[in-house]
Symmetry: C2
Subunit: 255 residues, 2 copies
Amino acid sequence: MITCNIIGAGNVANHLYKTFKKSDGIQINQWYARNASKIELFKTEVEIITDINNLRPADVTILAVNDDVINEVSQSIPFENHLVVHTSGAAVIYDLDKKHKRGVFYPLQTFTAGADLNFEDVPICLEVIHKSNLPVLTELANCIGSPNYRVNPDQRKVLHLAAVFVNNFTNQLYRLGHEITESEGVEFEILKPLITETANKIASMSPYMAQTGPAVRNDKKTIKKHLKLLNSEHHKEVYNLLTKSIKKTHGFKKL
Amino acid sequence: MITCNIIGAGNVANHLYKTFKKSDGIQINQWYARNASKIELFKTEVEIITDINNLRPADVTILAVNDDVINEVSQSIPFENHLVVHTSGAAVIYDLDKKHKRGVFYPLQTFTAGADLNFEDVPICLEVIHKSNLPVLTELANCIGSPNYRVNPDQRKVLHLAAVFVNNFTNQLYRLGHEITESEGVEFEILKPLITETANKIASMSPYMAQTGPAVRNDKKTIKKHLKLLNSEHHKEVYNLLTKSIKKTHGFKKL
């Protein structure tokens, strides 16, 4: 049985709480939030504290707080020499105060408030300074069914960066698709099966192999038609750059 | 029972053949391909012809051929005054020879050779010149379980264009994510659950509402870190433009 504390009341903290709660291998000792009103409905199930000085040591204390307060909050923890981890993709492990055994427990997923997420679909990237702190984090991830990977600081950084491309930027392309269909009074809904299939496709083939469309065929006629059809200069700019990007990847000589 | 002919032996033709074959409401009369070797394994199930002069009229003759030969092939069809449709997102309906009743049967999906696709996940965009030709196309789409929409020429054009954004360009972002993780020896695999969830998320919320990450938070510190981390000028260019795009959508004043 792994004992743990959760610090923070945001999206990640809430999702971790709910999935830990379901596991027989994990016991949540305390949940700290500056403002307990956000997690008040769990007070019959777990000890909620609003004064961090009341926090007691546990096998793992998880800081699911904004990057810019990791250092401050970790300093304010009233004990030392126990394992304290943050959940950030971008913050360095050294943001945690050095009085602790330090680690990172970074769930690489997009969390939606209110929506349940199966942690089997949440890869956890683990980072530690001392190898001896790894097994308990691996076990914690295993308890919730999450695939987990030990990564080094540079690897976590590039994963966080690549996540911006495949999540934030991809979602922005959905948004632009929404704007484009809306401009002709077409339901964005019609595009949703295509969006799902595009994501599913790379389960079985590389994005390189999965590419289709006018850019990879170097079909100048269609590209010209598309650019003519776009009203917004910004949409044109994105179209041009990503068309160039596909051509670059697929090695056309004339860009 | 709707009778139909298929013309072409590519990806779309093959997927249509397989799904039509399964429907009790559709009878495939003939399948024409210039080069029959590609579809030879179906010759025991369907009449395959390699001379278009042997094509007989059917309720619907479907041209699943490259955009640039639609006109030529439709001219060479040895009958007239029957419904002939193409399956292109980009070609105008008038590319079909005017001796035919003309229509468009555009499946808005990405087709992978060899992979089976459930046509319930393939929206069909229907276009006709004369309204009287619509019911048989609607019925054809219903027979294979496809959601179907009557669209006008402009709407089909913008759907095809928006599809480039949410399919080709999105897939290119997966590719860039692949390049970025590879550069630090990290498995691209770790990003796949995030990719799937990003696509799933917009089933229940708009892409506008689904947006997260440094750009929508206007988190300049993380954006700066990310740009520093990117080795490739091209990756930086894409990062900058899509960050600008998100900020634009979410109405930050300073771009």
